[in-house]
């Protein structure tokens, strides 16, 4: 084992140790259902923010309806579990694929639009999906929401303790974020960044812009659907209000506060905007107004975000991208 490997593996090991050893120990010692909920909410929103980062920060498509795809995933998982007896093992990929399929249908006509027109089209589509969730009572049970009583079944073994659910959520969130990290810090991710900078120029250079936009939109929605399924299984009850426009804005605020184009930034933004309102819960239900103020001041004073794209890329190259280190066994240039 070379020194480089240890250096590059160090941060990953620390993150894994915190997520799978230190945090569970802390949770067990505190033993409060409420803390579990907050921690799992923070994990799920980290995944949502990272998935939105792929499409908004990296591919540069301002997306104002992300929560709708999150909702689609949650509803698919919950309805499959409650009405059709399809468990978590099958329901989770089904939720992701369902959200991605809807994203594909939505993306075909709207991907020709740019900047604000695209943003408004996604707002409209998000609202349409929200209206369907709320008013298609025969299927979605309307404003009453769906209750899901079954625990998480993993290949015949049922997980229903809070700690067990925490481990499942943390594992899936970690794998998903790792996949998005590998996607966005690769040549593929660089192609997406070229769309953001100038999609006409990228088109002229031979990049299939429409296809890349549709793909990034679908990948992002897939992971939003996964996050939705995790949310449905952790709370056991979902209703359309969890997926309205305010949630889309909350996720967007996480991305903007963390820094557009920066994956670690999105995670920091998610943790900040979930944990800060929870910490201030004593003052009253101030979550949305805090989101508003944090969003406004971060645009005003930190337009690049708390952890902007350039420092984030340097950081990831140093800590995560072993291929970039001065190692004779590996290629020196480019992301692997």
């Amino acid at each position: 084992m070379s020194k480089d490997f240890i250096q590059s593996a160090g941060l990953k090991l620390v993150i894994l140790a915190v997520l799978f050893v230190a945090l569970p120990l802390l949770l067990v010692s505190l033993d409060k259902g409420y803390i579990y909920q907050v921690v799992m909410l923070a994990l799920i929103f980290s995944l949502l923010a990272v998935s939105l980062q792929l499409v908004t920060g990296i591919a540069g498509l301002l997306h104002l309806g992300h929560a709708a795809f999150y909702g689609v995933g949650a509803y698919i998982a919950a309805l499959a579990g409650a009405d059709y007896g399809i468990g978590f093992t099958l329901g989770l990929p089904l939720a992701g694929l369902g959200a991605a399929a809807i994203a594909f249908v939505v993306a075909l006509p709207t991907m020709r639009l740019v900047s604000i027109y695209f943003a408004v089209a996604t707002l409209g589509i998000g609202q349409m999906i929200f209206l369907v969730l709320q008013n298609w009572v025969e299927v979605t049970k309307g404003p009453n929401g769906v209750s899901l009583f079954s625990g998480i079944d993993l290949f015949g073994y049922t997980v229903d303790s809070e700690l067990g659910i925490y481990f499942v959520v943390a594992t899936i969130v970690c794998i998903s974020i790792w996949v998005i990290h590998r996607l966005s810090h690769s040549y593929y991710g660089n192609a997406l960044r070229s769309l953001r900078e100038d999609d006409q120029c990228a088109d002229a250079m031979g990049i299939n812009t429409v296809r890349l936009k549709i793909e990034s939109f679908m990948i992002s929605s897939f992971f939003a659907g996964i996050a939705g399924a995790l949310w449905a299984y952790t709370t056991g009850y979902i209703s359309p209000v969890d997926f309205d426009f305010a949630e889309s804005i909350l996720i967007l605020a996480m991305v903007v506060v963390g820094g557009l184009g920066s994956i670690p930034g999105a995670i920091i933004g998610a943790l900040l905007l979930i944990l800060l309102p929870e910490a201030l819960r004593g003052v009253g239900d101030m979550r949305n107004i805090i989101v508003g103020f944090v969003l406004f001041f971060s645009i005003l004073f930190l337009p690049k975000g708390l952890f902007g794209e350039v420092p984030a890329l340097n950081f990831i190259r140093r800590q995560m991208g072993a291929a970039w280190q001065d190692n004779p066994d590996k290629q020196k240039v480019g992301w692997k």
Binding site: L62, T110, R112, I116, V120, L123, G124, N288, V291
Partner: protein, 304 residues
Amino acid sequence: MIDPYYLQQLTIGISLGMVYALMAIGFTLIFGVLNVVNFAHGEVYTIGAFAGIMAIAAFGPPFLVIVFIVLAVGALAGFGLERLAFRPFRRFSDEASLKSRAMREATLMSSLAMSIIAREAMELLFGSEFQTIDISYLINKPIELGPVTIVNGDIIIFVVSVLMLGGLQWLLKYSSIGLSIRAVSNNPLGAKYVGINTDRTIVLTFVIGSMMGALAGILVGLYYGAVFPSMGFIPGVKAFVAMVMGGLSSIPGAVIAALVLGVAESMSTTFVSSVWADMVAYLFLIVTLVFFPQGLFGARRERV
């Protein structure tokens, strides 16, 4: 002979459409001068409605006085909005940065943040439920017109809106303020070179647009008797749809599109349950963006 039911729906649709038109014009004016979307316009509408009912609760003035109070509050809201959410991001005045995507998206998100703050602050102050309004001020007294029953609100909304729209057209065509607004929306840099105070013009545009938005808010509040902090979001989206359908820069286009939208929405309740009426606006939005990206009445413009 047309079924009176359809005439009934038509009057409701025209009232709705007039309200959307008042709001859409605010959007169109602001988009014209700054080339950015003002997401906080829906909150100006809510602020107008709240100002009106607070005036009623405080000293019960006659209707015309309420209108003027609401207009003044709307003007103030527009001024404050421009100061807080738009001015700080207009650091550079060259053509490239005025049209740059970073600037558009920064103002879009700052106005979004402002709208969240305004809505949540109202919710903390007044609670999220419907506010109580003095019954005698509601404008829903029925008037029989042959087979059709309309309410006096339909007439009031129509008259007030037509007056405001006419006044705006006069202002834009024949006053020096209107001339400078048209100049800035045509070419901000050119307007600056010929000695127009562009900052002042932008503030005035926000003031005029927000006055119309606030007036729409109180008219709808008294028409339906429903005033609550999140009332502005859906009309805001619909006014935006009307602006896009009208072709972004065209005021008559926005008014016609708003009327079409209002009538289509009220007619749609004949065929589907009223909870789906909002769907009509979103469908119009997507269809317009996909098939008529220039809008129905707009001139050609850069790529959407």
